[in-house]
């Protein structure tokens, strides 16, 4: 270290003072968010893990250390594993449904036609509906006796179903409601992705003699793949966080065929008053979503078609 380059004591002090000044200046900007995150995001995470190690009494008064017993219980219990399976199924239905339909609708409105804005507004309008609103709306539609869905299906010659009371179909029914609810947002995001595709790509394809269908396959879809991937992974994460539709439409039944993980956590904590066990389930959910988000980040680097 030569004399010229090493900071001299006074400069070091000034350097340190500058850092402190910067920290102080930035604090009021960053601390509000950071404080809220610490209290309502990070602390709950740690506490959930801690609660998972304790058996709790139903009245919230006592916690008894039980080690990994509850975690083991959760990971080996057929009930919880079934709810993982149900959630995975649900994710599959809703992601395929909303991504495919969102893609279709976004492609449809991504053109210049008089009045296209009206259609775009219509297709994205379901983003306004909440879980409670969508569920109550679909409750009557899904009624096996007088619901319109079975009426239309029957007219079309297809077999009708007891949507919400048949263990085979209940999850599909809830997936339908969820896809309808999510399709607006999927369309918005995919449309934004479409609008980001530079015109030159289409130009050069046209010059090469590509017809619209080829353009779709070889220009649009590849360029859209990061968006589609984003929509899919976000969709899976949303599916793993779903709760309201199940609480309103089926309460986890029939025969637990619609008990997704969040409903299982809610039921265990607030209806069975087993906070410790429910927290163990919650930690497992956290790990799964963490892995999924990690997958999203990784995949975004690797499988994307760069322009």
């Amino acid at each position: 270290m030569s004399i010229a380059s090493a900071p001299r004591p006074r400069e070091r002090r000034r350097g340190r003072a500058k850092v402190v000044r910067e920290a102080v200046a930035a604090s009021p900007f960053v601390l509000p968010s950071l404080g809220l995150f610490s209290l309502f995001v990070f602390y709950p995470l740690v506490r959930s893990i801690w609660l998972g190690f304790h058996a709790t009494d139903p009245f919230g008064r006592r916690e008894v250390w039980v080690g990994i017993a509850q975690y083991r219980d959760v990971l080996t219990s057929s009930d919880f594993r079934y709810s993982l399976f149900v959630t995975g199924q649900f994710a599959l239905y809703t992601v395929i449904g909303s991504t495919a339909i969102g893609l279709y609708l976004a492609l449809l409105v991504h053109r210049r036609l008089p009045g296209i804005l009206l259609f775009r507004t219509v297709y994205t309008s379901t983003v306004a509906s909440s879980v409670a609103v969508s569920s109550v709306m679909w409750l009557l539609l899904l009624n096996p006796g007088v619901g319109v869905l079975n009426y239309l299906i029957g007219k079309g010659g297809l077999p009708t179903a007891n949507w919400l009371t048949d263990p085979k179909w209940a999850l599909v029914a809830i997936a339908m409601t969820t896809v309808w609810m999510n399709v607006g947002l999927a369309t918005i995001v995919i449309l934004a992705g479409l609008q980001n595709i530079p015109e030159q790509l289409y130009e050069s394809a046209r010059v090469d003699g590509a017809r619209p269908w080829d353009q779709l396959l070889h220009v649009t879809l590849p360029a859209l793949s990061p968006t589609l991937l984003f929509v899919s992974v976000v969709g899976v994460i949303f599916a793993f966080e779903s709760f309201g539709q199940i609480d309103i439409l089926t309460k986890g039944g029939p025969l637990n065929s619609t008990t997704v993980i969040v409903y299982s956590i809610y039921r265990e904590a607030f209806l069975h008053y087993n906070v410790g066990l429910a927290s163990a389930q919650a930690v497992v959910l956290f790990v799964i979503v963490l892995l999924l988000t990690g997958v999203q980040f990784l995949a975004a680097q690797r499988w994307v078609f760069y322009r």
Binding site: L108, V148, F230
Partner: protein, 283 residues
Amino acid sequence: MRRQKKLRRAAVRAAVSVPMYVLLVVSAAVILFPLYMTGVDSLQPISKLLTYPPDFWPEHPHWSNYRSAMTDIPMPRYMLNSLIMATVVTVGQILTSTLAAYAFSFMRFPFRNALFFIFLSTMMVPWEASIIPNFQIIQRLDWIDTYQGLTVPFLATAFGTFLLRQHFMTLPRELKDAADIDGYGDLRFLLRVVIPLSRAALATLAVFSFLQAWNQYLWPLLVTNDPNMRTVQIGIASLQDQEVQRTNVVLAGTVIALLPMLFLVIAFQRFLVRGLTAGAVKG
């Protein structure tokens, strides 16, 4: 000759676009169908809802169903609660994310990158996995059945911070340099220069925040017991529970709960798509 060519081109365009319009209209009809049936059923007398085959048009619209929905349960109070909650959350989120995004874009401070990563990491924690401890905090603070309990956990958002930072980064560096020369402090620069230039991004964030807060279900379910503190979402879920026989009134209530958000989404259409085009999609 030219006019003939123009006409022919117009005719071809019309012929090509007719099937497109058909697709557009049919797709719109399918998407709108549940809303349509809900609207129709909300105006029917209950006898019509229990008949088969179902009716597709209300012969004698029973507007009284809407009156029932507003008076049988305290719907105006529910709407007010939702309004207060959503407004507080939106304002809070805008405040905290603007401040944080500003710091991450324009300020230098120790551990800046690490802190930004910490912010982003909160997006990886599913909120539903932390309901139990969050609920216990609210319970211990005795904030059950209060507006604080409904809103405080949501006053900060990493998504909003990220969105605004993306936008702030597009503002030219020279602005900050000029402001520094003019002796503007950080706060003044933020208020006088950055915010006026970020209206679109702020509007997008406001729309999404408000929408998300208004539509929340699980959290209000946990922290409100008092019917006076219920939000509109819990209100229609409990209306559905209580008035199982009067589905028409329940649907009227649902329409009432939906309309404000529908207006919001339609009125602010352009912010929804454009806001996301600003690069947030690329994750």
